[in-house]
Symmetry: D2
Subunit: 356 residues, 4 copies
């Protein structure tokens, strides 16, 4: 069941990663590669690592250039994909790597992004637990056969996977959540801004989007409500650290009084035991938990999760590592696309990272 | 008022940084440099950056080699400095860069470190607020003229400086604190362990000491109680990120209901307005807060602090950046030593970092 | 034509990378994983990125544990593989990632490595030009059907690929070669040595093996003589720079007087035009050459090459980028294995890297 | 003998480093800080590490704003300082951190930079050997009391210091020189270019200015001719590696036949034995040379040099490490300024780096 696929925004980081993964997908035939200001240049100038497509010339992004493919991947700035998608036929499978179709609540969209709400699409996080579930089935069902997919924000994926088992099982207080993330720079895209220069980044850690204003906040809230929280309050702080890829999300929540650690561990184990791409790391020799590292996920669609109970603080502490461009963006997109097309969910994706 | 100073553990990172700063201190005359397994080798083999001392030969650490100096700096492994210090005369000023004399509570020592408690010494954080203070004076008074100084843990300094104004002013709930830190590798010392190898560190973020067991937890609690909290509960997670130096501490607390953001900002401003080494960063053009970065503190004794109110989450979020080896260790030590000796507090220390 | 494969030294970097690639090889079935001091532990403790093998337990390295596989990959310290290989049957395909069987000259072995020479095996660099060749065929023929393969040193691969077209075409003086390399730390292995610690590596560049003593020198000489040089003199300096993977080799040679730049370019183009994994980068817009970067090769079996003539200096300058663990080690090994087994040369290998 | 000093281009990396060092110079009083597009903003927005000047507002660069200071430091783009300097009085000491006044040969200027030649100024490399010298005295004399100083290019300083003892002593062939450098990104300035983005830089090494076209080539040639070479031919390749600061220059030359290694070492020892900021590193235990690392020079005005003879290749190999912004730019400038003003040469400069 091969399919043709066009990628809009192919010269950016998200578009490039989608292409890297599509090159390894046995059913994908890569068609048009589109760009905005880079139209007319060869892909090899922007992504020299994609040898197989180095000579392909970028064409302008438009409904015309994207037409005629079975699948269209949109790697466009926030606010730009709504208009493009509206011109693509209902029979085309459109995957939006951007934010335009993630939020169901138009008010939250207006508050955090501004401008008109493009509406929400089926949400491309197959592992999202719905209220009452122990393992994720409803979200997979919601993605089967669809023609529109909104891929989650990368930070959102990391924090949701870390916390949702405790929310769904009712073990943690959803009104007292804190998440602090160490983020690689590729999550900020290829923008030419001073704080993204290499000289500024080496040897430095710097926060951004602190204090409740980050656009991923309402999306995390939306997910955790879907997982069963009546309401959600989360303090969320991403931090740029000197690496190109990777998110390490430390997310903590107040434990319901009287919950013992074994119950906690059992909830996370149940949620992810059968997941192909989300792994609760084991307790190692002597019972010491093995901790996720971002390096272990580089290039793979894997999320590594660990959870412990801090009895002194009365909190659950979870740590989740993903590659922001794979599980956090293009890999999650392909996984959801496989579900939409009725292909095996793991087709063309690997759980093995590139390390060291 | 010049003084002679010996440094024990001179081949380690803390000892080396003490030497770097002492080389720039106008009153210090550097005497014996001691080591354990590296005794007999030249300092230049271990610290090629300390050109002025490159040919100095390390001697074994003992009461005999350390004797006869006005000041002794101990850069020894936890548990080792108690015995050495006990053999040094009461007239010698002894500065312990390690943990042995930080905790006042023998029970906390036993629980987190084990072994016999060496007792507590005057605590070398001049900016520590005592209950009821708006600006730090009592701690400075407590350091004047002393002959023993326990230098705080590097993470402790960062978290304490971030949170204490809110604790002292009663604006935040000390029972609902969360701190997550991005840490440079030098904080882990020069130990030959696989997870400290360069190949493992590039491109990776990895947590350690998660879940309440980190030895810096009781020390943070001790400081915040000193600042006025009846009791303290903190979830504390340090994270190694790919840089040699620096701590970026994101520390958050539930805001007392009804507290407005201006009151919060005023408390932090009051606490640090007159501090030579702790700076609340300004709100920039348009009111956007300027955020601390670790790069801006490299090599300096500066702590950069920012604080905002996340009204959606009902929390105060503070971010503090320090150089773990300077303000977090050897610089804090020298600052306290100046107070102990009656010298100007800032002598030999710089607030200007090395960047980019 | 599936085959079973055992990997000796599976907990090291070379062994780990061999496993990563074998997991993506459609015909490989992974059997025994062996180790020395790490025997008894799970692979996941050493290579958390290899999710598919995380629970596999390492067994001791011995002829007994390696027996019964079609293919054995040896990722052992120099000097250790000779003895192990001698105990494996002639019908087994043995691939030595180490140095023991690379050099044909026992004298060079004795001088650079010391100890008894284990003899030389077919040399696993399919792209190696033989004297008189424009494109590599003889070396491929020499690998077809063999049961023993010596994988080249990673630096050797980079320097050989950069210089050999000029040697084979007689355009450069083989007695006046200089190569300086920027190397990632994984090339130094997982050894617990102070200069390999992360804190020492960040922000630093440091040379090693300077002055003619590096073990890769006689191997480069051997290759370039094979490519047609009557004799070879090369100054060779590798330099550790702050990255985990990658080699950027700058290799320069005196141009034969009267040779024009077009002739130079033509020689390199001819050598690599049909190579699946070695690419001469194009001249970009305006004729400016596109330069190799190590990031563009990460995780791929690709070598990127550029060549220019410095007319002022009368020299050819070549720059070659590879991933030291892939094209430089495990990928080159798999490519050669495919030739040995009569499989398509590119099977299970990718030319697309993981970037940024 | 205190002096007032203005810095033009204060928001750039060179200007910022000049300020950092001037803050530590006991005789400097910092006056106007000027900028081009950043005029009107606070210095703290651009250099948050310069706490002591954080609130100083940048004024436009012009003869008027720079007037009235004893010393003016120009940290301007190439081609811009000539015009500004022409408007400053002859009684002002003007230090050009840029290239405009480095080259004595107008033809070389035209070929490598283009545009009108601003003429040459006394050259700010006090350690530059003149033909026939064993240790540098003539260049120091040439800087005493001057009112114009052209600061060398950072790469030029590293390569010159590495090779000149062999040139001056007639031990190496100046027509067969090769230099390859590992460079930190700050040398490329603060320009917003895609290849300078952090995401592109992590994990990557990339060459630039390959093939004889780099503007530092004629300046190296000029220096080595001054040191005694009748003519100079050098192949020169800088390479960006993932660090903010530092240059590690590997420079090699054919040894004059019959020269023994002890003679080589003696020449380098003689040249630098009395230099305060250039150090030939020792042979360590067992005779193994200690190698320069860039980390050991960070923040200091030190150049670390090592030299060995590669007898197999018949070449001398030198390795030199400097901090490109200190000894390579602002530190070298201050050192020369001290000479110009008749102050002690080392005043306000340190030979001790910040490491790890």
């Amino acid at each position: 069941m091969s399919f043709t696929v066009a990628v809009a925004g192919a010269s950016g980081y998200a578009g490039g990663e989608a292409l890297r993964l599509l090159l390894g997908h046995p059913e994908a035939r890569i068609g048009a590669l589109t760009a905005h200001s880079n139209a007319g240049s060869a892909l090899g100038e922007h992504h020299p690592h994609l040898r197989a497509l180095a000579d392909r010339v970028l064409v302008p992004t438009s409904a015309a250039t994207l037409a005629g493919h079975d699948v269209v991947v949109l790697g466009l700035p926030h606010g730009a994909s709504g208009a493009v998608a509206a011109e693509l036929g209902d029979d085309v499978v459109v995957i939006d790597l951007g934010a335009d179709h993630r939020l169901t609540d138009a008010g939250a969209w207006a508050q955090f992004y501004g401008g008109p709400h493009a509406g929400s699409w089926p949400y491309g996080l197959p592992e999202l637990l719905h209220a009452g579930e122990t393992t994720a089935a409803a979200q997979r069902a919601a993605l089967a056969g669809v023609h529109r997919i909104a891929v989650p924000g990368c930070n959102v994926t990391a924090v949701t996977l870390g916390l949702q088992p405790g929310i769904a099982a009712g073990l943690i207080d959803p009104l007292d959540l804190v998440a602090v993330l160490a983020n690689g720079y590729s999550g900020a895209g290829k923008a030419l801004k001073p704080h993204l220069l290499a000289s500024e980044a080496f040897g430095s850690a710097q926060p951004y989007g602190v204090g409740g204003g980050h656009r991923h906040v309402p999306e995390i809230e939306q997910n955790l409500r879907r997982a069963g929280a009546p309401d959600v309050t989360i303090s969320f702080t991403p931090t740029l650290v000197p690496m190109a890829r990777g998110i390490l999300a430390t997310a903590t929540a107040r434990l319901r009084p009287g919950t013992d650690p074994a119950t906690v561990r059992a909830a996370w184990e149940a949620a992810y035991a059968d997941e192909p791409f989300v792994h609760l790391l084991p307790l190692g020799p002597g019972g010491a938990p093995q901790w996720p590292t971002t390096a272990a996920t580089l290039g793979s669609n894997t999320a590594l999760v660990q959870v412990v109970v801090d009895e002194r603080a009365g909190r659950v502490v979870t740590v989740t590592a993903i590659d922001n461009l794979v599980k956090g963006t293009a890999g999650g997109a392909l996984q959801s696309l496989n579900l939409a097309l009725g292909l095996p969910e793991t087709l063309g994706l690997t759980s093995n990272g590139v390390a060291p």
